[in-house]
Amino acid sequence: MTKEDIKILLVDDEKQFVDTLSERLAMRGFEARVAYDGPEALKAVDQPTDVIVLDLRMPGMDGFEVLRNVKKSNPLVQVIILTGHGGDAEEQTAYRMGAYNFLRKPMDIDELLNSIRMAYRDKLENAMVAVSLAEGGDFDSARDVLNEKDVLEEHGK
């Protein structure tokens, strides 16, 4: 089995679900850490993280709050929402806040893995574009690519 380089953080208060998902990802060669609530997630994201798979409805700090904080502190980290809650309005809000994808439970693991791989590829491309802009002296554009500036003005900061 090939080991995949993508570092994944799973955030969900449903322990049984997220522990099983972590186990299945590990069987496919992915390193997948878990966090069971928002504060734990924000602490965990300080370790090298490429993609977060994030639930929306959690006790205390909800997924939108985690998303907002992650985009502020670690703009290169891609966030995929995976939730049992949420209609079209929540989906639109998540995208406006910078989420890469919005998936609903129960999901097909191959669909999730495809989304993770594409999010990671997108992350690498963004980083390369930002470096290229910075090397050309366009630091504002480079910062915008990294920070997705327009989406940080959303959702009550």
Binding site: E14, T20, M107
Partner: protein, 220 residues
């Protein structure tokens, strides 16, 4: 908060829980499938492994069915939570949701429901619950003459009116169902804010058009 909004909130809450339950079942079944694949012929005979894989596949299919149903229920919750008179609603989505939500009682009435595909969305400026109520009345018409008919619901337009094309495609009681729908007074109903009219599609045949539109009348 009115009763409809109350139901919508409770339904949305229950749907969220149901999706989490289905997610746990799906992941656990998936893990069992992964372990069975890894074990191969070492831990159990090939026939046993194959049977296990089939059983777990059935679990996965049931989960997908449950997920589709919860999607339809979530749409009901969203529809119920809307203020009355607020639209527009996607008639194709309403048709799909109705087919899923009514599937169990349709089976009991020996009516097979299906939704037809549309190339583009058909939007109507009526509450989704109004459309669901009208579809249920059509369903009751067909059930009242013994069921045993296949009904296909497709969002569409007749001249400039939005509505749902109802086809009685086959079934032992198809003619009875068509006769029941022809000129039924039950559906020429006017309610506060909207009106439902059932009419033949273009000519005599197995198709009807359920036109649902907003209106200013006070209603029944």
């Amino acid at each position: 908060m009115n009763e409809s909004q109350c139901m919508a909130r409770l339904l949305a809450s229950a749907v969220h829980d149901m999706r989490n339950v289905l997610a746990v079942i799906r992941e656990s079944a998936g893990l069992a499938q992964d372990l069975a694949s890894l074990a191969g012929g070492k831990a159990m005979p090939a026939q046993g492994a194959e049977r296990l894989s089939t059983a777990l596949g059935e679990v996965q299919r049931s989960v997908i069915q449950g997920a589709a149903l919860s999607e339809a229920m979530d749409y009901m919750a969203q529809a119920g939570g809307m203020e009355s008179g607020v639209g527009p609603c996607d008639l194709a989505r309403v048709s799909r949701s109705f087919c899923l939500l009514a599937a169990r009682q349709a089976r009991a009435a020996q009516i097979h429901l299906s939704s037809g595909a549309t190339e583009e969305p058909v939007w109507a400026n009526v509450p989704p619950l109004a459309v669901l109520r009208s579809l249920l009345e059509v369903f009751d018409l067909c059930a009242s003459v013994g069921g045993q008919v296949d009904l296909r619901l497709t969002a569409g337009r007749r001249q400039k009116e939005e509505g749902i094309i109802i086809e009685a495609t086959e079934g032992a009681n198809r003619e009875m169902a068509l006769a029941a729908m022809t000129g039924s007074p039950m559906l020429n109903g006017i309610r506060p804010g909207w009106r439902a009219v059932l009419m033949p599609w273009r000519d005599a045949g197995p198709r009807f058009f359920l036109s649902i539109s907003a209106c200013d009348t006070e209603g029944e």
